[in-house]
Symmetry: C2
Subunit: 520 residues, 2 copies
């Protein structure tokens, strides 16, 4: 049996994609669930990029057992040092350094010569190796790099101590046949040194042309044994190779991928997917393979023929294999706290006692008002609370909201806040009731913090569903803060989310940091 290493970069490449930012606590929750899923490596972040990223990688290195914990670094010494400072707390730390090698990147981005790039690679890998046994190197934009030059860089990296070589298709340009040949070429040219040093050949494919999974599988057929991927396929632009798809290909087509295993506990796929989409706010489209809402669904008409015989004829995977749960009812009016705790644990939420108490309180409250509480409701509540602010961070507090609206009267809102311990009341009108609430709040606090995006969804079935509002506010320096709130009332959810976002922005004022962005 050949074991393929699943290298998950949901927390680095995935989290880096527009609209996906996670708090430190949220990253920890995801990392713990990834460990449960059985990934071999967690790329936890890019420590030099921001204070938050550094702290998150460190926290994960300290707390998450099982997978290798990897931190990303450019070929700069300070990047590598910073990555090491974060990952060194893990029992299995890895430093991953990368440098662009395609002509266009070398010329347009680095403005270096090819020889200089090789020297940068050697220096970086040697330095990383002096700190950490496990070093990964990626020639960025490899898929568009001259084959022989790419091999020269790879050879230099191996000779300098790299234990994993990752060949990324940074811009998602490759076609499977071509990408497979590229991997084959690496083995043809460098087979001896790869075998001698026990080097792992890895691939990292982007999905710009919809071929990330096919390219990754083709690479595996040609000798790659590490697949870099993300949950739900999130990531820069069109995202990365989707973990669930690549894993389920290998599992479902055992006849085709003979004697290959990924070590993934596929029964954790659905939960992990739900967790990631819930925390990042990146929704999964209904027709997404493996984990989309429709992936195992058939329109009503079909079921009438007899589901059982149909399962055999149309389902190549069983929903149970990926731990499909769907939208089942889990909590009734009389269910206890144990039921809620079990779901939270099951979903990978690792909350403090105080947070669990809050979740249970909200669930009970909801169960009192509605007949039943769905699993998604609980996830939304937990997400809301897990991403919450501490008492000290809560500069503004909401006291009361009151709204009057209708098609024949202009919406009007009265909002009472507690700002620095003092009660303040503001009134506002708007084109709709939420707009009125927003205007009322705006009369009372820092007007330079502006609402940038407003998203609203109902979580489960009926009109008595929870409203899940997610907003983004922007401060005058262009920093963006995401906040989410869940409440039975849309107005309340909107007000709470707005205030949470504003609190985040007000807190950030105290400790600003510039963020660096990696792409490969």
């Amino acid at each position: 049996m050949k074991k393929i290493i699943i290298f998950d970069t949901t927390l680095r490449d995935g989290e880096q994609s527009p609209g996906a930012s996670l708090t430190m606590q949220e990253k920890l929750i995801v990392a713990k669930q990834l460990a449960k899923l059985g990934v071999g490596v967690i790329e936890a972040g890019f420590p030099i990029s921001s204070e938050g990223d550094f702290e998150a990688v460190k926290l994960i290195a300290k707390q998450v057992k099982g997978p290798i914990i990897c931190g990303l670094a450019r070929t700069k010494k300070e990047d590598i040092d910073r990555a090491w400072q974060a990952v060194k707390y893990s029992k299995k730390p890895r430093i991953h350094t990368f440098c662009a090698t395609s002509d266009i990147h070398i010329k347009e981005k680095l403005r270096k010569t090819k020889e200089e790039v090789i020297q940068m690679t050697i220096d970086a890998v040697k330095h990383a190796k002096s700190l950490c046994k496990d070093v990964e190197f990626s020639p960025e934009d490899a898929a568009r790099t001259d084959l022989d030059y790419m091999c020269d860089v790879v050879k230099a990296a191996i000779e300098s101590g790299a234990t994993t070589i990752n060949i990324p298709d940074t811009v998602g340009y490759a076609e499977p046949e071509e990408f497979g040949k590229r991997i084959r070429y690496v083995f043809d040219k460098l087979g001896n040194i790869i075998r001698k040093n026990n080097v792992i050949i890895s691939i990292h494919c982007h999905d710009d042309l919809g071929l990330a999974v096919a390219n990754s599988l083709e690479a595996v057929k040609n000798g790659a044994i590490q697949i870099e991927c993300t949950m739900n396929g999130i990531g820069e632009r069109a995202g990365n190779c989707s973990l669930e798809e690549v894993v389920m290909n290998i599992k479902t087509r055992k006849d085709f991928f003979k004697d290959i295993t990924t070590g993934i506990n596929t029964k954790e796929i659905f939960k992990t997917s739900q967790l990631v989409s819930s925390l990042t706010g990146l929704a999964v489209q209904r027709n997404k393979a493996i984990i989309g809402q429709n992936a195992f669904a058939h329109e009503a008409g079909v079921h009438q023929h007899g589901v059982l015989s149909h399962k055999l004829t149309y389902e190549i995977m069983k929903p149970e294999e990926i731990g499909w749960i769907g939208t089942n009812i889990v909590i009734g009016k009389h269910s206890g706290r144990h039921a809620v705790e079990a779901i939270l644990k099951d979903m990978g939420y690792d909350l403090t006692k105080d947070q669990i108490k809050k979740v249970i309180g909200k669930v009970k409250n909801l169960a009192d008002k509605q007949k039943e509480v769905m699993r998604e409701d609980i996830i939304a509540i937990a997400t809301d609370i897990a991403g919450g602010l501490s008492k000290e961070e809560e500069i503004i507090k909401l006291d009361e909201v009151k709204v009057t609206t209708g098609n024949k009267t202009q919406p009007e809102a009265t909002v009472t806040l507690i700002v620095d311990g003092k009660k303040k009341t503001g009134k506002g009108k708007g084109v709709g009731p939420v707009d009125a609430v927003s205007h009322a709040i705006g009369t009372m606090i820092d007007p330079s913090i502006k609402l940038k995006e407003y998203g609203l969804k109902a979580i489960t079935g009926g009109t008595d569903a929870l409203a899940d509002v997610s907003i983004k506010v922007q401060d005058k320096n262009g920093n963006i803060f995401k906040a989410e709130a869940v409440n039975e009332g849309i107005m309340m959810a909107s007000a709470i989310a707005l205030i949470k976002g504003m609190n985040k922005a007000l807190n950030f004022k105290r400790k600003p940091k510039k963020r660096i962005h990696a792409q490969y």
Copy 2:
């Protein structure tokens, strides 16, 4: 130059997927846009499946010029006759008939012998051919069918007059290498008869393992010249090969797909995608290749380096190539009706004069209240109106809604309806304001019509955004009716959508029809 025929089945396989049902008028709008996009074939529906499907295919056959208009039929005589009755109005009609050929389907679903299946194929193709010159045949679940038996069926279909043979991977099970070999085998074994009869070899891939695009491209490399696909990749379960991905692969990798063209006007891709997602209600995930919101986006940090040099280094396609528009402002307070009309035309909406008037009225209204109206706002309004009911179909009318809500008072709603010309007023309370509105309406009309699903999204940026509410109601026979409404106020949008859905249900009572479902 070899021309690949793009066979679009958005209106058949796509529309058939859970949650995607379109009205006849909506189908016509999509079909007209597909013609503008330059597809070679439009599979407009499955005429036998319902009265609505039949009428829609007929309407499209009559009104849409350019592409071949195709109707689906099982091998049954009545299916084929019904398909012909619908497509015959087109200048280029096609009948597409299919029959399962895999062992599991023959045994579990058809309960026939292999010889019987061949006979069914012969009879069906011959009958179709007696009506229509252009006949397509698909051996359902071909990818899991014994290769030689599949060739026997294909040969029988060609000898009976089929002009296109489509090899579907019905369950999305194939891997590219394997699927390419299957196509190659067809040419190896039946090359002579294919060439002699000028038969088009087509493929139809499902995306259950995320490989539909890769499989389709591999088939093209092995001789297939028709690709069946859908916009946004919608379709049964995980959907079909995505039109935009397969087309942009061939275009972007000209060096790889030498001398191949699809005839698609790629600048219409973005618009078509938006139209389909807006009308079906199937949202496209942010990280979807080619057309996702993030496909051409980079996080803020990157842009600061200088967008221009980055474009060269990270973008393998230009957004302009697919007609990317994004979220630009199009209508200000002083823009006229011409601007709105131009957008509607540009987006492929083919509305009646009366409908255009309504759209303009709503847009002007919104422009008065907000500073600016976004393109998406206009699309949402047009979608709302295009899918609307006629005066006769409007059994219930909304007069007034009034809501009071807050965190310290229970939400309460008063709703006035005009039912059969008479004013009725109802009051309701609820866990949230929308729930209260729903309860108030429930006091006045048929209580057997129940709300099944409630979805809510804000369309553009701020809290003054339009609320786009989409609901599904279910009557006591299990029939489901989707309705959508757009309004600046959430309460109003909810009330309007609920009433529209209920009107649809009340109308349906008069003309019920059972629906048949095709899957291949």
